[in-house]
Symmetry: C2
Subunit: 261 residues, 2 copies
């Protein structure tokens, strides 16, 4: 099933994508809800960020072997394979939806896409086993963890490298039935394939992350965890580009890049 959040005129609602139409839902996937008899053409609604997280988490370092190899070689760094699923933070100010523009900051120099699987938590989780954690997942969406590499490696923290306004496209919707182990992530720049990888080849899997996190913190419905990216993130993106992240089984997250005014 595909949950979206959408706007038509002044109305904002959750919906279920049924082919080329969206069925309007009262309530949300995180609480009581029921399907209404009202549907809209998918092409006629504005898709919104599919949920507004209370906890916006990310793999707190590289989570694919070949991303470590590439970062260390390309940026002359010394990242090591993480020994446990530690956690990073992203921020809601940076979220944008399907189709909304990534703004290339005036003082940015080296902006990269990062195609990522996003886990959407559906139930409150505290001290959960891996199996309990996976049973508490509502579904999966797609994230583009846009990163300014000069700031990433030059600043004391990753705040503006990762969380400048518009740097976190997320969408287009939440797919509840994805088989992560069979999924493939493909990134296209201006229609041309830039990179691709098997989505499930993580260093730490979804269940390992959520279970480990839940032993120290409470996960809440609507919290999200971005699972990291693989390989290289080249060529850099520039104003005028369109970035598409496709995860087969979910869909395509598509955002244009524009220059800051």
């Amino acid at each position: 099933m595909r949950w979206c959040r959408f706007q038509v005129k002044d109305k904002v609602a959750y919906g279920i994508v049924e082919g080329e139409r969206v069925r309007e839902v009262r309530g949300s996937p995180f609480g009581r809800h029921y399907r209404t008899s009202k549907t809209h053409r998918l092409a006629a609604v504005k898709l919104l960020v599919p949920c507004w997280p209370t906890g916006f988490y990310a793999a707190g370092g590289p989570n694919y072997e070949d991303h470590i190899t590439w970062v260390n070689s390309h940026f002359n760094r010394n990242f090591k394979r993480p020994t446990a699923p530690h956690v990073g933070y992203r921020a809601n100010n940076a979220l944008i939806a399907q189709g909304e523009p990534i703004v290339y900051p005036k003082n940015a120099k080296d902006l990269h896409y990062e195609g990522e699987l996003v886990v959407v938590v559906g139930k409150k989780l505290k001290r959960a086993s891996e199996a309990e954690a996976l049973a508490g997942v509502l579904g999966y969406t797609i994230g583009n963890d846009v990163s300014e590499r000069v700031w990433q490696f030059g600043d004391d923290t990753w705040w503006r490298a990762k969380n400048s306004d518009t740097f976190k496209p997320m969408g287009p919707w939440i797919e509840t039935d994805l088989e992560v182990d069979k999924a493939v992530t493909t990134v296209r720049l201006n229609g041309k394939v830039a990179t691709g990888f098997r989505t499930g080849e993580f260093i730490f899997r979804v269940g390992q992350y959520l279970s480990a996190m839940s032993h120290h913190l409470t996960l809440f419905p609507g919290d999200v965890l971005w699972m990291g990216t693989a390989g290289a993130t080249l060529p850099p993106i520039k104003a005028g580009d369109t970035v598409e992240i496709e995860i087969a089984g979910i869909g395509v997250l598509r955002n244009p890049v524009i220059a800051e005014k």
Copy 2:
């Protein structure tokens, strides 16, 4: 003026502290509101976390000179004076209110208090000057940036060191008229003074932080920025302790410490 958020029976509301009483307010300090004629005894209400931030920011490294000196000496680290106001993240899962217990995790070994000034943003800020940023501050509250030092220096990120459940006491209320340069922070453990410092002796001041942040991200009403702590954070806290952070001009944030069950 002192804004609090409180609960009486099933009712949750914002209020204005007037001596020993709380005047109930409809709405919030971040939007339309009006004072009602209803008041409660301050001692009879449960104070809540004074705002639930969308953006939960902190000084992304030491923000007082003598904290750098102490950390480097006590933990044999090599922190340098930051060259710009970079930003760290804290998380809402960890927030607790006045009087609520800090839970000492079973596998924690070296838990420290950090008494901090907390800036509460009152207006949307984007590309603000220092003066504009300061004019957009609603007021100030108190934070205890509880930190597990073994995790802080051993993990890849500070997630569980800083953001384990209950590690972020914040309150008791928001004071709109604090003169930061004249304020003094005092930390007491079980009634005995453990440390104290002039609150305003930051490396980067409130206006510098907010202005710099707002050039990359949008600050929203209710966002908070924790300004860092000074000096040493000893002795470590343990189950059974009570920690009080006082900032003269705001009040006292008081939390007991209990063992995880």
